[in-house]
């Protein structure tokens, strides 16, 4: 045993770079694998995981404080079915205008503000995603998934100002951060004492109670819990409730859109981790074959040789695996899963503990296995054969290609380097696979970012609609969507027309109708005026041109069993109207059970839906902020004027997440290249000494060493483009199909000529950057030292 320990210790100290490399590679690979597995696992029912971590409220109840006393509310926490309760937290419904650093962010936004002393608690443990909890009376923290996600359009939240326009004196609050409640229990939070002045004198004092129950999981069970709660309080005390099941359905629809791509990234990360570990560990053992021969020549048995080489990979490998698991658990939670949680709208996600334990164990076993195979081979070799195998690649490999390459009109260092991979085909294939995966991830990620931007534009229509105007939205109208009265509609249209910056506008109405054979209601969006300019993405068919024609999303077609060209009968106000479907559109509202048509289509049934909003397109060169100010002033108090920025926090988070993952995968690929070059440099150290002895300059040495992997990188990059595009074209429709949506071709057709050329160079860049460090080492090694290496 002692000779084995001595030999392992000797190798670890003599081959410090190799030792560190194995440790670092296993650290990064384990880190990437922990993160990838964490993402995959957490992408399975993320709402449930976030809900459990944050002890989400299974029921959020609004109670009238004039009916229920504090003692009565406190008693509900001790009901037999209740396992945890929090509250009462005073709440108020207000209308606000948010001013940011660049001017008005949103005007007349309705929100529910709750007073809480801290984000924590036995129920609804809020996650602070930025800034801090309010410390003074004039501070407010906003919900990251509601106001921040959909309205602020990714504006930096901290430091902005909220003005409560629904109250006399228009009190102002400084936004000090963003927080996420998994069940969206409020739009903003202030210190408890501040709610009284927000509630105003005209509205009754209400409070929010948050509960977790013993029996949940179905609507029936939650209904029984609610009944128990209502019985425990005076009649009329509970004015409104929200079940977590409703939030879960809503959130799951959003989450489902992103799960396939997260999983695709996770799988790529896992495969790369495995490849890189195999490449590095087996490379390290093969590179030390010469020493294996020496050990055998002094009497080591084959079994002892195997033990030595397993040991020299296992010691730094185990250290790297452990460190990677710890780092992975900490950093993945902070850097990746935090963003993912925001994207999923669930506040908190964490790497499961079994992933933190199983991943390093698996990686260590993998490292041991890939070290074992070449070590077993070395154990069987004779001493002389092992020494010969360790000193140089098999004679003859790549010689012919080398001769042909020397005829190329390229500088000699480049032609010498380009054919070097042929001497070690297996190692080169592993490196090519690692770079191919890294470059594929880059191609996929770039396309995904562009497509997501187009999806976002397709949803928000921000390319054409710069402003949306809503009818007056008072605190009392929270229960029903406000509509423009006939006089308000005329007045608003007149104001919009009078603005010189108005290019075009259209009024939208929503009407719930029933469709023959469909058990669920369909929401019909009707437009008063030409709506073609909105640019709603048409997947197949065309945009409607006359009353009686309509466009519908895929979900509608699927659930009604119809196709473009068919006629369906809708029933509105008890009267039936035939509608011909002329196109399939990308439209995600109401889970796709929607229809878009001219308002006169419903008018045939004698139904005239009042408008709920005006969409306004501005003339080129019109300042959106100045227009907002002018139209807000002209409309008067109460109207909601929203800039349609189209930059949702969700989108920015997803693009940030894509960027983070892509960087990690590219770094992992670069590390694989770095290892290949380190092993190759050591193997070719003597040849490098010869090159230097006959006059190769440091720059020529770097060029030669970089070109060892540059060819591989270039080939991998070229292969990665079609692979990445194929992955993109597979994952995106899968994303869409998972939520019953079809993307138009324009959402997928994002790869353009110059971009493709740049993406094809991604592999070359990864390979070049990965090779630069060892190339610099090789260039800086004195010729005499390199020659002595043998």
């Amino acid at each position: 045993m002692k000779p084995i320990v001595s030999a392992v210790a000797g190798t670890l100290t003599r081959r410090r770079v190799q030792t560190v490399m194995i440790g670092v590679v296993l650290l990064i690979s384990t880190f990437a694998a922990v993160m990838a597995l964490g993402l995959i696992v957490d992408s399975n029912a993320p709402f449930d995981k976030g809900f459990a971590l944050e002890r989400g409220a299974e029921v959020t109840a609004s109670v009238d404080r004039s009916v229920a006393t504090s003692a009565e509310l406190a008693r509900t926490a001790r009901l037999p079915g209740v396992t945890a309760a929090a509250g009462p937290f005073a709440e108020a419904d207000v209308t606000v205008t948010v001013n940011g650093k660049g001017g008005l962010v949103v005007s007349q936004y309705p929100m529910t503000v709750v007073g809480r002393a801290s984000p924590g608690g036995p129920v609804d443990d809020l996650t602070l995603t930025s800034g801090h909890w309010p410390r003074t009376a004039s501070q407010m923290i906003l919900s990251g998934t509601i106001l921040g996600g959909n309205v602020l359009g990714g504006s930096n939240p901290v430091g902005e100002t909220v003005t409560v326009t629904s109250l006399p004196g228009r009190p102002r609050f400084a936004v000090v951060g963003f927080a996420v409640s998994v069940t969206a229990s409020a739009d903003g939070w202030v210190l408890p004492g501040q709610v009284a002045r927000l509630a105003g004198s005209r509205t009754p004092a209400t409070a929010e109670m948050l509960y977790r129950f013993r029996a949940v999981g179905t609507d029936k069970a939650v209904g029984a819990d609610l009944a128990e709660l209502r019985r425990a309080l005076p009649t009329g005390a509970v004015t409104g409730t929200q079940s977590y099941l409703a939030v879960k359905v809503r959130e799951s629809r959003t989450i489902a859109l992103y799960v396939p791509f997260i999983v695709a990234f996770g799988v790529i990360g896992l495969i790369m981790s495995v490849l890189i570990v195999a490449n590095v560990v087996s490379g390290a053992v093969v590179a030390d074959y010469a020493r294996i021969g020496v050990l055998k020549s002094i009497g080591f048995t084959p079994g002892q040789v195997v033990a030595v080489y397993i040991g020299q990979a296992a010691v730094p490998g185990a250290a790297g695996c452990l460190a990677g698991a710890v780092l992975g658990a900490v950093l993945a939670n902070r850097l990746i899963l935090g963003k993912t949680a925001i994207a999923y709208g669930v506040g908190t996600l964490a790497v499961p503990i079994w992933v933190v334990i199983a991943t390093p164990v698996g990686m260590c076993l993998l490292a041991g296995l890939v070290a074992l195979l070449p070590a077993l081979r070395a154990g069987r070799l004779s001493a002389i054969a092992a020494i010969a195998a360790g000193r140089a690649p098999r004679a003859g490999r790549g010689y012919t290609a080398g001769r042909l390459a020397s005829l190329l009109p390229l500088p000699r260092p480049l032609t010498l380097g380009l054919t070097a991979p042929l001497a070690r085909p297996a190692r080169s294939a592993m490196t090519l696979a690692a770079v191919l995966l890294g470059a594929t991830a880059v191609t996929f990620a770039v396309g995904l970012a562009y497509s997501l931007a187009r999806v976002n534009t397709g949803i928000s229509l921000s390319n054409t609609v710069q402003l949306q105007i809503f009818p007056p939205y008072g605190p009392s109208s929270n229960t029903a969507e406000p509509v423009f009265s006939a006089s308000q509609q005329r007045a608003a249209a007149a104001v919009i027309r009078s603005q010189p910056g108005t290019l075009r506008y259209v009024a939208e109405s929503y009407t719930q109708v029933s469709v023959a054979g469909l058990g669920q209601p369909v929401v019909v969006t009707t437009f008063r005026g030409d709506a073609r300019w909105l640019g709603q993405a048409v997947v197949t068919g065309r945009w409607y041109t006359r009353p009686g024609e309509a466009d519908v999303p895929l979900a509608f077609l699927k659930q009604t069993g119809t196709e473009v060209g068919d006629t369906v009968t809708i029933t509105v106000g008890g009267r039936r109207v035939p509608v011909r479907i002329v196109g399939e559109v990308f439209f995600t509202e109401n889970r796709g059970l929607s229809m878009l048509t001219d308002w006169r289509t419903l008018n045939r049934a004698g139904y005239a839906a009042p408008p709920v909003q005006f969409d306004v397109g501005l003339r080129p060169g019109t300042g959106a902020y100045a227009y907002e100010q002018a139209i807000s002033a002209a409309l008067g108090r109460g109207y909601g004027v929203f800039p349609n920025k189209g930059r949702s926090t969700l989108l920015l988070t997803m693009i940030g997440l894509i960027g983070s993952l892509t960087w990690l995968l590219a770094v992992a690929a670069g590390l694989g290249v770095l290892n290949t070059v380190v092993v190759h440099t050591r193997e070719r150290a003597h040849a490098l000494g010869v090159y230097k002895a006959v006059g190769m300059t440091p720059r020529q040495t770097i060029a030669m060493v970089v070109s060892w992997t540059a060819g591989i990188g270039l080939v991998a990059g070229i292969l990665a483009v079609p692979a990445g595009i194929a992955l993109h074209h597979y994952v995106l429709p899968t994303m869409a199909a998972s939520v019953n949506v079809a993307f138009p071709a324009s959402f997928l057709d994002v790869y353009r000529g110059p971009m493709i050329v740049l993406l094809a160079l991604a592999g070359l860049i990864i390979a070049t950057v990965g090779a630069l460090i060892p190339a610099s080492w090789a260039a800086g090694t004195p010729a005499a030292t390199a020659l002595r290496t043998e």
């Binding site: 140089a392 004679a395 790549g398 010689y399 080398g402 001769r403 020397s406 500088p411 000699r412 260092p413 001497a423 003597h686 040849a687 000494g689 010869v690 090159y691 230097k692 002895a693 006959v694 006059g695 190769m696 300059t697 440091p698 720059r699 020529q700 260039a779 800086g780 004195p782 010729a783 005499a784 030292t785 020659l787």
Partner: protein, 222 residues
């Protein structure tokens, strides 16, 4: 006569070495001279050669070759110096196994960016002069020791160096081949090629060098 090679009070100490590999060595070699540096193993003779070729840096003192300070030059300048001014011959040939004989010989010219046709003509002339032209497309592994050393000499002469540095050039060949190699070096010196030869063989030094410098424990002997 001006010195082509001039070492002045040169010391070289390797990391962790208890004593210097060479200690306060001063040496002048004139243009066209054939000098043998002789000494037992570990005396520092290869270190002297490496310092002159710029393959290693002295710890102290100065090294100048053809009027150029080697000890203070940048790595790039030293590489260019080696390429243009120095030809190296090693005991174990140091040929590149994956290049043909012709490609090995062409390498210094290719690294210098010489014209392809001119370099090839010169390489073929050298191979013919050294009587190994029939092996030009062979790989070094298929050649005998003597043939390999001739290839190494051809490579060393490719860029018409000012000085030829030979480190135990007959150490890895049989005595008959060693004789041939020695005669070849003698002929080269006779044609004006400056030669610095490192050997531990007194007979070789006496026969092929016009001057012998003896190194003992890193110092020039009496």
């Amino acid at each position: 006569m001006d010195a082509l090679i001039e070492l002045s009070h040169v010391t070289k100490r390797y990391d962790g070495g208890a004593r210097p590999a060479i200690d306060d060595v001063s040496l002048r070699v004139a243009q066209g001279e054939a000098v043998a540096v002789m000494g037992p193993s570990g005396s520092g003779k290869s270190t002297v050669l490496n310092l002159i070729a710029g393959m290693d840096r002295p710890t102290g003192g100065t090294v100048a070759v053809a009027g150029q300070r080697i000890d203070t030059a940048s790595e790039t300048a030293v590489a260019r110096f080696r390429r243009d001014k120095v030809g190296m011959i090693f005991q174990f040939f140091n040929l590149l196994d994956d290049l043909t004989v012709l490609d090995n010989v062409l390498l210094p010219a290719q690294l210098a960016g010489s014209r392809r046709s001119g370099a090839r003509k010169r390489a073929e002339e050298l191979l013919a002069a050294l009587r190994i032209e029939r092996h030009k497309d062979a790989y070094p592994a298929r050649l005998s020791g003597g043939e390999r050393q001739r290839v190494a000499i051809a490579r060393a002469l490719m860029n018409q160096p000012d000085v030829l540095l030979a480190d135990e050039p007959t150490g890895a060949v049989d005595s008959a081949t060693g004789e041939e190699i020695g005669e070849l070096l003698l002929d080269l010196n006779a044609s004006g090629q400056t030669l610095l030869l490192v050997t531990h063989n007194p007979a070789l030094a006496a026969r092929y060098a016009s001057r012998v410098v003896e190194l003992v424990d890193g110092r020039i002997g009496p």
